[in-house]
Symmetry: C2
Subunit: 307 residues, 2 copies
């Protein structure tokens, strides 16, 4: 086996209360990649369709993540990578993470799985460092593991898979405005009030408990962010209105996906998630912002082999 074609999922990082630690993988939106094992050393991005992104290995997130893996591998050859982007760069649903995670996961498969999943997260984080300046793991971890993941600790890296109830669906709307991850990190404050911190870790505990207990109402009550959302939502047109209309349409909770500008909502059941999507669309139709909407069940598997 020298070639694999894969689907690598879009992901929602932070999930309201879990800034930098929580993430979840989607099923209905993701990139496709084809990775070929070759004898020549190194990584080449031989095709990149769907988005305008650099194809030089050192400037491409899949290239950089792949090189991080190769550096620790005994393999003397290399890989050609084709990337078919369906996730828009800068949308806030883990576009760079999908490419980084997809590259290293597939290379590891083609090499006979010499590396653990935890190591693959580390390699993929190098792609995230290139994309945003920070090697965060809250998108690459769910892209690799599927489902919900908690990054309990970065040093040492400690990823925990969290189960979730089967009727949990996500609605994501991507307003076609540009918010760079690096910029949306810059506007954050470096300190927070202890009182806001207490609320935040109460909600993280509540969300984790709600996912284990399959308690949809508790999941909804816990989807609150008193620290990041009040700041970042300023960059997203119509955020407050869109959030309140989503909740009126039946969403359990609603917040910023990653560093935005995409906005996510969770719902119990596909029908409600679709209704939430319709409510979201109306807001951006009214204020004249172009958008994409995705309604998706939670991806439980992570990266999938196609064909």
């Amino acid at each position: 086996m020298d070639t694999l074609k894969i689907f690598c999922p879009a992901t929602i990082a932070n999930v309201s209360c879990g800034f930098d630690v929580l993430g979840v993988a989607l099923d209905a939106v993701g990139d496709e990649m084809v990775v070929h094992k070759r004898t020549k050393k190194g990584i080449s991005i031989t095709k990149l369709e769907g988005q305008e992104l650099p194809t030089e290995t050192h400037l491409n997130v899949a290239g950089v993540a792949g090189l991080a893996l190769l550096e620790q591998s005994d393999y003397q050859g290399g890989f050609d990578i084709e990337i078919y982007k369906k996730i828009k760069a800068g949308s806030g649903i883990g576009s760079s993470a999908a490419s980084s995670a997809g590259a290293v996961w597939t290379m590891n498969e083609l090499l006979g799985r010499p590396f653990s999943m935890a190591k693959l997260v580390e390699f993929a984080m190098e792609g995230e460092r290139l994309a945003s300046g920070v090697a965060h793991a809250d998108n690459v971890a769910p892209a690799l593991f599927g489902g919900f993941t908690l990054v309990r600790s970065y040093n040492p890296l400690d990823i925990i898979e969290i189960p979730f109830p089967s009727q949990l669906f996500a609605t994501v709307i991507h307003p076609q405005i540009e918010v760079k991850t690096a910029d949306s990190r810059k506007i954050l404050k470096t300190s927070i009030s202890l009182q806001d911190g207490i609320k935040q870790w109460g909600n993280v505990g509540g969300l984790i408990a709600g996912l284990f207990l399959e308690d949809y109402a508790l999941i909804g009550r816990s989807l609150q962010d008193h620290i990041i959302e009040p700041i970042r939502s300023i960059l997203i047109p119509g955020f407050d209105n869109l959030k309140s209309e989503s909740l009126k349409a039946g969403a359990l909770g609603c917040g910023i996906s990653g560093s935005g500008p995409s906005i996510f909502a969770f719902s119990k059941g596909l029908e409600t998630a679709q209704n939430v999507g319709e409510a979201m669309k109306k807001i951006y139709q009214n204020i004249g912002v172009d958008y994409d909407v995705h309604v998706s069940k939670i991806n439980s598997q992570g990266i999938k082999i196609l064909d």
Copy 2:
């Protein structure tokens, strides 16, 4: 039924990472109370043995918590309360919470349970307000519910019961020095760094997941506090040494119980918890501080009726 005798458990609040939100009830240490229903309106503390504490109703935490309940009750009579303190006041294992929770729980039983458990938490919090100036719930909630509890939110009050593995044991050592809850709150900073916040909510998520998954190692890794412990541990003689010796003796994790000065450790299995207790004792024997040690399984039931 006009009289009930009860056991009300000691509790560990905060549990390292969960400042103001997490708590757990102990089985091997707690107060006893006898509550008599009477026709005369009001609350009287008719006996208080074991500790020097005020018996005037308005100055006694059981009295104040009881009055909060009576105020919302249709009952036109009152209660006589006898308190037999086994938990030392100011020890950091929920002495005031045991009295407050014990009073309102027993009164509710004697009245035929007109109030929900959530309401009882609110009444008992009035006792906590008297004791420390802050109506916190992280001791009274586990005292009432048993096991581990998460205060997801204070406004509105939202208490979540968290399951726990059966071989989890607690060791608590109480150095006989005085640290007032109000003082140990005063030394805390009102703001924290975002980076420390991220570590803290990662660990809260990890601890909740570890308890659900019955993953003792994950529970241990999550028992870290980067915010409160570095400040409060200054008030506790020998803390760093005691913590490292506890971990060497096999504890999963170790931290300050509530606002201190008691220190708790969790272990897998009774034998390890006892070994940890022996290691703790040696530290205070060496530096000449008097102490009490408790080794306890987790209390799963909360308040219990005796005889």
